[in-house]
Amino acid sequence: MDFLTIIQILDSTIRLATPLLLACLAGFFSERAGIFDIGLEGKMLIAAMFSAAVAYVTGSVWLGLLAGAASSVALAALHGLASITFRGNQLISGVAINFLAAGMTVVIAQDWFQLGGRTPSLFGGARFEPIILPFAEAVADVPFLGPIYAELLSGHSILVYVTFLLVPGTWWVIYRTRFGLRLRAVGENPAAVDTAGVSVVGLRYAAVAICGVLCGIAGAYLATALQAGFVKDMTAGRGFIALAALIFAKWRPWPAMWSCLLFGLLQAIALRYQNLDLGVFTVPVQAMDVLPYVLTVIILAGFVGKAIPPRAGGVPYVKER
């Protein structure tokens, strides 16, 4: 495997990891506040649809992003209504949201565009274009560092850079601000937050809303940066992988980034080396296809200890019945 291949695989890793990381951070905020969310997938999906639809209609990808985030926040609010206000089962609510998004995206897109639940292809200002970092071309020929800068770091859409900046951002918010302290506390012991005079409901809704925004960006990234339009079910299970990454990272921001990158890397490798010929026999395509999942299980079993979720996670806060 030569150097350039490695660069390309890593480049692919970054693209594949970005939507995972956004969704993972979204889940991070929600679950750290004690609201479990298996509806990441659905929120991403609806955001992908609305961002592409609005970007197409207005010709502005930024308006698309806004619309995507808004639609995702709307589903997040529904989740909040069910799990915070009405203290419902958070898992059921998440399942319902995934179904709702899978159905609604196609119904709406079909109603609007008559393209069988697709949106028309986006072009020009309706898409996020890659950003070439300064001097990328100039230094491209510098050995070793040149390609790393020009090929690997440069040339992604702005959302990629934003996403990776969100990791230290999230860390800072969670561990260095009042909001973060309260958020973590409400996921561990909401009664402590309540008796300290802070609104549990308010905090949880805030967390769920942040989750919605981040899922919205993830969906918009898929439909308007990586792709040029919405195709039904285009999230293809990424919300669930993000959830796995979150558990893998034990609900911490930096490890979340590393685990998303790991998942991205495994996928990138599997995509590049199908039918791995080992001389003696050829590894079938199916085996390469599941490599990321098998490795996840092995890593989980071998290296990661017990992951302890936020203690109040998944449990509605009831102080009197």
Binding site: Y175, R176, T177, R178, F179, G180, L181, R182, R184, A185, E188, N189, A191, A192, V193, D194, T195, A196, G197, V198, S199, R311, K319, E320, R321
Partner: protein, 511 residues
């Protein structure tokens, strides 16, 4: 002084939880600079009333006056603003946060954490100095003892500049020394003019420290008296509605064969810390061995090892048979089959399954018993019938086998566990903290049951942090400190002071 407005005045407070009327038209006045005690049976509505005052629950009816001002307290924020602080019966701390983080939570200055924490650290030092409330600000809550956790709760209130401090059963989890220290602190706070409401089941504490005392029964306030004008006996009667024996009534023990024989018992935890260091002890048939000690000195581990669910090395014999201490056979079930019953220290975490009905909890651990089974299926009606019988014998209220454990008061939960374990007719009964958080009526009953079991010739190992309880129940007392037995005494030949010293690790000879 006389015509000063009361610090707190509640008028006609009522509160229902669904069909349960927890508080019914309650009025109360507490003057500033006094300590006001509230006593009452489990489930009488004490905690509910205080939670209303603190804005945790909303009252259905009634008015609250703070320093003569009519105040509405819709949430805890408002209570804090009105200068009220509360230490709940079950602490409201974030277990994996540091002490400092718990203290600033909700009382931060500004959006950034560092300045808040720095300021809190300074204030905390001053408060520690002023009230002698020692805690390490950087310790993680779950790693410090309950006593320290309670100090954190008090510091939390003081940090919010509370003038009115409510403590709900603060001494339930404290050692005598810790309790004494708490009362010194409360005394100092009173001197400063702060108002304190103290809920407790311990009449001794009421008599010792309060100025006035109110008695609650079944959601109503039945009496408010000056402490100096009443007696423990009178209070107990007001509370329970009948005469209560405050002393355990028992005959001298008649020890028989050695039932439990422990030699060189050691436990090392996952972190490599030695929890038990070479414990040797024996319990004979027909005697109660009391283990005294500050919580966290190995008593819990001792009970868990004997109960079969903590790995250890050494020798444990029951009725002369060697018990496996690791691997197969080292579990609660096998231990029960060997004639060991165990009333665990923490009834809500271990002794009971809170979501299970009472009858399921009565079967819990004994669900293999032939009497509870018919072929491959469990005989639920047999269990229910047995539960009804047990509930009646142990006066569990309400005597409803279908009610979930979580819906019983603490005292009644404890009675369910006791009924289950005692009625098994074990050779050896391990019993931890039998009366924690239980009202005096129930304590009297539980103590009688334990003594009766001893008189049937059973061996009993009693672990309690209540020295009074240890002294009145045990036939012999062993004191544990730092995983070791510091010494053994006969209750008739020792006193709380001597035991207190042993508990603090001052060895027998020096004491």
């Amino acid at each position: 002084m006389a015509n000063e407005a009361p610090a707190i005045e509640l008028k006609g407070i009522s509160k229902a939880f669904g069909p349960v009327q927890a508080n019914k038209d309650i009025s109360i006045r507490v003057m500033p600079g006094t300590i006001h005690g509230i006593i009452g049976e489990n489930g009488a509505g004490k905690s509910t009333l205080m939670s209303i005052l603190y804005g945790f629950y909303k009252a259905d009816a009634g008015e609250i006056f703070i320093s003569g001002q009519k105040t509405t307290i819709p949430d805890s924020q408002a209570a804090i603003a009105a200068g009220i602080g509360m230490v709940f019966q079950h602490f409201k701390l974030v277990e994996n946060f540091t002490v400092l983080e718990n203290i600033v939570l909700g009382a931060e200055d500004g959006g950034l954490l560092r300045p808040s924490l720095a300021k809190a650290r300074k204030t905390l030092e001053e408060l520690e100095q002023e009230y002698d409330l020692k805690v390490d600000p950087d310790a993680i809550i779950e790693q410090i003892g309950v006593g320290a956790q309670q100090r954190v709760e008090i510091l939390k209130a003081l940090y919010r500049q509370a003038n009115i401090l409510i403590l709900d059963e603060p001494t339930g989890v404290l050692t005598p020394a810790e309790a004494d220290q708490l009362f010194r602190i409360l005394g100092r706070l009173r001197e400063e003019g702060k108002t304190i409401i103290l809920i407790t089941h311990k009449l001794r504490e009421i008599m010792e420290i309060t100025d006035t005392v109110s008695v609650m029964r079944r959601g109503e306030m039945t009496a408010t008296v000056k402490t100096s004008e009443t007696s423990p006996e009178e209070l107990a009667e007001l509370m329970v509605g009948r005469k209560v024996l405050l002393q355990v009534d028992k005959t001298p023990a008649q020890p028989g064969d050695v039932i439990l024989d422990v030699k060189n018992l050691r436990v090392v935890d996952e972190m490599g810390v030695e929890r038990l260091r070479s414990i040797d002890l024996q319990v004979r048939a027909g005697e109660i061995l009391g283990i005294a000690g500050v919580a966290g000195n190995g008593q819990s581990e001792l009970l868990e090892v004997l109960g079969g669910y903590m790995d250890a090395t050494g020798e444990v014999r029951v009725n002369g048979t060697l018990m496996p201490l690791t691997g197969a056979g080292a579990d609660g079930r096998s231990r029960r089959e060997s004639g060991v019953s165990h009333v665990p220290e923490d009834r809500q975490r271990e002794g009971l399954i809170m979501d299970f009905a009472a009858w399921e909890n009565v079967a819990f651990g004994y669900h293999d018993d032939a009497a509870y089974n018919r072929g491959v299926l469990m005989d639920n009606s047999a269990v229910r019938a047995d539960t009804e019988a047990k509930m009646e014998r142990f006066d569990v209220r309400p005597p409803n086998p279908a009610l979930a454990a979580k819906n019983f008061s603490g005292g009644n939960q404890q009675k369910i566990v006791l009924a289950r374990e005692i009625e098994r007719n074990p050779d050896l009964l391990l019993i931890g903290q039998p009366t924690r958080g239980v009202d005096i009526g129930a304590i009297e009953f539980i103590h009688q049951q334990i003594v009766a079991l001893r008189d049937q010739g059973k061996a009993i190992l009693l672990v309690s942090v209540e020295l009074e309880e240890i002294l009145s129940l045990s036939d012999r007392v062993a004191v544990m400190f730092d995983g070791q037995i510091m010494g053994e005494r006969l209750p008739s030949q020792t006193d709380e002071k001597e035991l207190g010293l042993l508990m603090a690790g001052v060895s027998g000879e020096a004491a």
